[in-house]
């Protein structure tokens, strides 16, 4: 009804143009069976690591019933490597070790992700590469429910991964657009 102030915790919030794009992609994901509707099912996709991105409704009352999803979306472990290092002096050793382990082209892409080092006792260290699942808020839960082909409002949904899907490129573009909201 009346346009109320949006909860400041709903961040990042998509503008009207991006919202239309997101809801359109959500609808297509519904048709391709690549969508999980509801906060509980979205939680499960994050735990299983099959989520591409999370869409949440900013006008949820109360909004706190959604705020565990950003916590889960960040810090999903993506890759795990164990490398023995003979030197602690320079992070360049880490880069060279990564390069020798995986090849240069992959090292280049790995810098887009967070790299965490866990020093072990026997002068070796673990490398845990952590990638965020992007998440975004859209203004209306009614619109999100319509995009999911559900008569009820939907407060959260998750687009799942499928390597053979025709939506792959659209999902990638949208993930980039969502991550630009954070800058």
């Amino acid at each position: 009804m009346t346009v109320e102030g949006v909860n400041p915790k709903a961040y990042p919030l998509a503008d009207s143009q991006l919202s239309i794009t997101i809801l359109d992609l959500v609808q297509q994901a519904t048709n391709y069976k690549q969508l999980k509707k509801g906060a509980n099912e979205a939680t499960k996709t994050l735990n299983r690591g099959i989520s591409e991105f999370i869409v949440m409704a900013a006008d949820t009352e109360p909004l706190e019933i959604l705020l565990h999803l950003p916590l889960l979306a960040e810090d999903k472990v993506f890759e795990f490597l164990l490398i023995v290092s003979l030197s602690y002096e320079s992070q360049l050793v880490v880069s060279l070790a990564l390069a020798s382990f995986t090849g240069f082209t992959w090292v280049s892409s790995s810098y887009d992700k967070k790299i965490r080092l866990y020093w072990l006792l026997d002068s070796s260290f673990e490398i845990v590469i952590v990638d965020n699942v992007p998440y975004v808020f859209v203004p209306s839960k009614q619109a999100l429910g319509r995009a999911c082909d559900v008569t009820r409002p939907v407060i959260a949904c998750s687009v799942t991964s499928n390597e053979a899907s025709q939506l792959k490129s659209q999902i990638q573009h949208l993930k980039d657009a969502i991550e630009k909201l954070l800058i």
């Binding site: 509980n40 109360p62 706190e64 019933i65 705020l67 565990h68 992070q91 810098y111 954070l182 800058i183």
Partner: protein, 499 residues
């Protein structure tokens, strides 16, 4: 286009100017190779300004602001002093490279300095960190390592101190202590009865309550000295004068053996300790109720303090409980049965710790599973509100409790329940009205609500005790029913899918 680099070190802020970026371009590999050589890197990047931190506390405040994505006043004045001025309307001819995108956007909002945080900038900043001690001439050898170590300690300690999970640990320890104390008190009380029965075996039949038995044995001490003078004390302890007279009559005709004074003293001391333990258990229970109403008021209002505390302790913390989907919350505490069912492809459990809620006890046999699923869903909502909400209130918990009551009525009588959206709107409207009203009125209303809640809880506990006995018999019937056939389950699952 010129590029500047902002570097945050434990000693202070550093501003560097990048040269020769046109030659290198945006080639990351070339930058990476030049970073390792100081002579080459020195030509690419030069120090423009350095602002040392005044003290360790100042360093901690600055780094906290950077990690949270804020720009402190000190950083702002440092940047405005050393960077070329940005005139309004004109496009700036330089950009500032930062390692943290959030602080970059904050800097841009406040000062209109354009910031970037990309792969190229990260490589240059990595080189700056590697050769930092050689850029700053005033730094003595070892100063940077000491500053790093001190700041790391302070930063980590500050993080740990403000960890919200720390508060959950109190509830987890309290519920563990409460369960252990229940077992210990029961064992000790049985020991007191057995020990004193050598002296006065008839007392066991007259006084059934463990606590009262310890109290009465402490009053009597030696049965041979029992007389009419003990009736007032026994009446006060037992609450019944007829029972008091019965005790005295039994004492006269008791067939127990006489104990020596030393033995009696030991029995008395042990009985006193059992009574003290029972009193402490009551205090611990009150502490747990108070703590739960502070940490998780909605969850406590919905399912009770004891079951809520067990859920939190089983999940590990309130944050972990909030992160669980409701299907996981439903079977917390029944992992053994779940894995057995998954291994043998049998029936998975309907409930775990939430079985002890009064709602499960009141539901009929065929509706227990549905009520368990509904209740787990409401518990998930309540725990998430408790975990992430800034204001502490029990309004949501009470409304969620009403929803579960309506669901029970719906299954019994067919009354249509309300929807989630309507209930939440009602709660928020009530909260807004309360904020407008006077604070004194709110305080008096809260007191009344707590009293009514306590009474309701007592009644429900009595009801649940009675229904648990019935539910055990019903469970026996359930086992036979499940053995009959799988077709019934298929029909049920279909009907559930339709719902």
């Amino acid at each position: 286009m010129k590029i500047y680099l902002l570097s945050e070190s434990p000693s202070g802020y550093g501003l560097f100017e990048g040269h020769g970026s046109d030659e290198i371009g945006q080639n990351t590999e070339a930058v990476r190779s030049s970073v390792s050589d100081l002579s080459r890197f020195g030509r690419v990047v030069q120090l423009t300004a350095f602002h040392p931190f005044q003290s360790a506390l100042d360093a901690l405040n600055q780094i906290n602001a950077v990690s949270e994505g804020y720009m402190s006043d000190e950083l702002r004045s440092f940047l405005e002093l050393n960077l070329p001025k940005v005139k309004e309307g004109k496009k700036p001819k330089f950009s500032l490279g930062v390692s943290e995108p959030k602080i970059g956007s904050c800097i841009f909002e406040a000062t209109k300095i354009p910031c970037q945080s990309n792969e190229f900038v990260h490589e240059l900043l990595r080189g700056v960190r590697q050769h930092f001690d050689r850029f700053i001439k005033d730094l003595k050898p070892g100063d940077l390592e000491k500053a790093q170590l001190g700041l790391a300690h302070s930063y980590s300690r500050a993080k740990v101190k403000f960890n919200v999970n720390r508060v959950d640990n109190m509830v987890i320890q309290a519920i563990f202590m409460l369960d252990t104390l229940d077992k210990d008190i029961n064992s000790f009380a049985m020991r007191v009865r057995e020990w004193y029965s050598w002296h006065f075996p008839e007392l066991v039949k007259i006084v059934n309550d463990n606590y009262l038995y310890a109290k009465v044995s402490k009053i009597i001490v030696d049965k041979s000295k029992l007389s009419e003078e003990h009736i007032p004390m026994l009446t006060e302890a037992l609450g019944d004068e007829d029972k008091a007279r019965e005790v005295i009559e039994a004492g006269k005709a008791s067939m127990g053996q006489d104990l020596s004074p030393v033995d009696l003293i030991n029995v008395q001391t042990f009985a006193q300790r059992v009574m003290d333990l029972a009193d402490y258990r009551k205090k611990l229970y009150d502490y747990l109720v108070t703590k739960m109403s502070d940490i998780a008021p909605n969850l406590a209002a919905l399912i009770g303090e004891m079951v809520g505390a067990r859920l939190i302790s089983h999940a590990g913390s309130l944050t972990n409980l909030a992160k669980c989907p409701s299907s996981t919350l439903q079977i917390l505490g029944a992992e053994k049965a779940l894995f057995r069912a998954l291994k043998t492809r049998g029936n998975t459990p309907k409930y775990g710790l939430i079985f002890h809620s009064s709602f499960i006890g009141r539901a009929s046999a065929k509706n227990k599973g549905r009520i368990a699923r509904f209740l787990a869903n409401k518990c998930s909502i309540a725990s998430r509100i408790d975990c992430f909400s800034d204001n502490s209130t029990t309004a949501f918990g009470e409304k969620l409790r009403e929803q579960v009551e309506e669901r029970l009525d719906f299954y019994d009588k067919g009354v249509a329940p309300r929807k989630n959206v309507d209930v939440m709107k009602e709660v928020l409207e009530n909260l807004e009205k309360k904020d407008e009203g006077e604070k004194t009125v709110d305080a008096s209303e809260k007191k009344k609500k707590r009293k009514t809640e306590e009474k309701e809880e007592e009644k429900e506990e009595e009801k649940s005790k009675k229904k648990k006995k019935k539910s055990k018999a019903v469970e026996g019937e359930e086992l036979t029913a499940t053995d009959n056939g799988h077709s019934k389950k298929k029909k049920k699952t279909k009907s559930q899918d339709d719902e």
